[in-house]
Symmetry: C2
Subunit: 427 residues, 2 copies
């Protein structure tokens, strides 16, 4: 143990005390170290945000490939074969970039916040990416029905979204956390839109639909709306503006008309196979518009990280200047009072310490509020999983059961989900 | 950007692909990295737990010095002078050890989880420790009344407890987190006991009491009970056993009798100054017994960290053996299928990936439950702060207002606190 500057009670050797002080980290050192930690965390968030942007592009390409593959499979291989191969090549290109992002993560140190969960999610994604070529081969050979292809693509995309979720969950800055929560919910909503496109493409292309598919379809519409609701609560004005502008009345009207035809036709009814293309194009325009909004969000996130890092660096520099000035004054003021800065300096130091503690506390409080939105999602997911396991329900039915209880009891969905979890022993 | 093993769609150069693979981190690498992160987090928790034990010892010594100083000041310097100096020397000794723990923290990297808040709290503590010699000089010169002395010591102890709180708040392992929550609440409860000793010592020594002091006294008794309640919810059987054994009926009866005399005598009433020693001894026995329980808790925490680290290391070794076996089989099985392990190996890898993700998810869910207890404290503290600021209430009165609302509405304290925060605009 190093003998670090203890303040003696009586008769302390002042010379020894002063000497010890040079080897010891003072409160001021810790003040600076706290700020440096903040900068380190912000820099990691900036890297994570880049990774999230890349994942967004890969998800977008995979969503397109899933839709094309479904038209291909639903038409017994007569349509979209070239488009499918072209899209697969584009996916592979973007996959390279995302793999490079993963590869650049520092897996050797434990510096990465939330590393255990993040890396474990990435392991799943890499495993799923490794089996993409085989999936594509089987699609090309028409060894799969559209549902099987959809499930495989959707599982990969869902794995990629969970990586984004973990990134949002590990953010330590409330403003960046808000931006990540908005982005994650937007991406998740876009994925439900993509699933709706795939499901609808397969239904129209096959020329028929049934009750199970229609229920799934309606569930996807609802899920989208829930995500965009959370997005709207957390997004900033510019992103909201981009989102509202991206939805023209005309295109929404066409979407709703096709939805009504596809999702609401009486069970067992025939669908016009020629609407497949119109449906696909309509959804693709919607998804492409979403992609633009997503890029606005990702751009804002990048700017936000850069601005926060620059700001924290400036504040650190200012703080260091003050601290140097303080120690200069302290050492010249009274050499035998090396443990004290005098009443005025004392107050400055205490002021800085308290200001920093208060600011970090405020940030932490605000962060809890933002994280509550993420926790709500976790709680609803867990309650859904519990109902699926204990009641042998499908995901849609489990969600519907929660939602109907919430409506009939006039309670928030998350509170119903909490009650379900609390009652797990009785289920 | 490194060209990392993308899986080509068609006609990929297999040789190039294989070569690239050696430079690339696979899903399996990330699986191992996730486990290594877990070990890193556990090792940091072990170091933090050592720091917390040291802080516990320092708090204990400071609590004793606070009580002694109050008897000294309350008796106009006629009593406990030697004991006071002796205790101050003991404090200084332990302070050295705690400073060494702080000093050993790696402030240069951003590796320390929750570093910004932890370091900022330590900065406050170091600042308060630096002004201890001056505080002791003023006590010796009887320049302070007991209340002023109590406030100064209590502020330092409260700063030390906040460091423990941040440590508990940053734990990533739910079992360790439970142990830290139990320990933190026990330490906080012990501190309220210490404040009660100091307040009572001053009251008895001065031979009188008044309404304000009696209200504070009752508030301290309540606060202790709340802390020990949370402790009981989170502590393991051994710690609970130690706690129950530490309280004999006889000593509890004496405590309650003295409390009744001191805290309930009608306002303005005279107190028997001779009871000062009896009160101090009774409380000191109680606090010393608590110190033993605290050491049981700290010992359990240390054991827990060691066991978890050993377990994680064993699991990592097992995992690495399996992974090596897998890659050996994969490379010997079919050299042109370097991207696949064959269906059986494929399932093993997927199984491991899924098992790890599930385990981490379970841990995360359990952690949320434990952290909820910490959040409740934060929410109650914030609501109290809000009431103090907007209604100009003392801390005791703010707490009493929350508690009375909770009782009259038959709701949990934390839910009342949440409502207060939600209504902040109206206050």
């Amino acid at each position: 143990m190093k003998a670090v500057g203890a303040r003696g009670v009586r008769g302390t050797n002042v010379a020894a005390d002063t000497q010890e002080q040079t080897t010891m980290k003072s409160g001021l050192n810790f003040l600076v170290a706290a700020r440096q930690c903040e900068i380190g965390e912000l820099e990691q968030l900036a890297r994570t945000s880049e990774l999230v942007s890349g994942i967004g592009r890969l998800i977008h390409a995979l969503q397109k490939e899933r839709g094309i593959s479904n038209v291909f499979l639903g038409s017994n291989g007569t349509r979209f074969d070239d488009m499918r191969l072209q899209q697969a090549a584009e996916c592979a290109e973007i996959e390279l970039q995302v793999r490079a992002h993963f590869d650049a993560l520092d897996t050797d140190s434990s510096q990465v916040r939330n590393g255990a969960r993040l890396f474990s999610r990435i392991a799943f994604v890499l495993h799923a990416l490794d089996s993409l070529p085989e999936l594509r081969r089987r699609i090309g050979a028409q060894e799969l029905v559209p549902e099987e292809s959809t499930i495989a693509f959707s599982r990969l995309i869902s794995g990629l979204l969970v990586v984004v979720f973990e990134a949002a969950d590990s953010a330590t800055d409330p403003e960046i956390s808000r931006a990540l929560v908005a982005l994650f919910n937007f991406m998740q909503g876009k994925e439900f839109t993509g699933q709706e496109r795939a499901l609808g493409s397969a239904a129209f292309a096959s020329g028929k639909t049934d009750n199970v598919h229609q229920q799934q379809w309606l569930h996807l519409i609802e899920s989208q709306e829930r995500c965009f609701q959370v997005f709207s609560e957390f997004a900033d004005t510019a992103a909201l503006h981009a989102w509202n502008n991206s939805q023209t009345g005309e295109s929404l009207a066409e979407l709703e008309r096709l939805r009504r035809t596809g999702a609401m036709t009486r069970a067992g009814g025939k669908l016009d196979a020629n609407l497949s293309q119109a449906w696909f194009d309509c959804c693709t325009r919607r998804i492409d518009a979403m992609k633009n909004v997503e890029e606005v969000l990702a751009g804002k996130l990048r700017e936000l990280c850069e601005r926060k890092i620059a700001q924290a660096r400036t504040e650190l520099r200012d703080q260091q200047v003050i601290l140097e000035e303080l120690s200069r004054q302290a050492s010249s003021a009274s050499p035998d009072a090396s443990t004290h800065y005098g009443p005025q300096l004392e107050r400055s130091v205490l002021g800085m310490v308290q200001e920093q503690a208060r600011r970090l506390q405020d940030m932490s409080d605000e962060l809890e509020t933002v994280r509550a939105a993420l926790n709500e999602r976790k709680i609803v997911e867990r309650a859904k999983g519990l109902l699926m396991a204990t009641r042998k329900l499908s995901e849609e039915d489990a969600y519907k059961m929660l939602r109907q209880t919430a409506m009939s009891q006039n309670r928030k969905l998350v509170h119903v989900a909490e009650s379900v979890l609390a009652m797990s022993d009785y289920l």
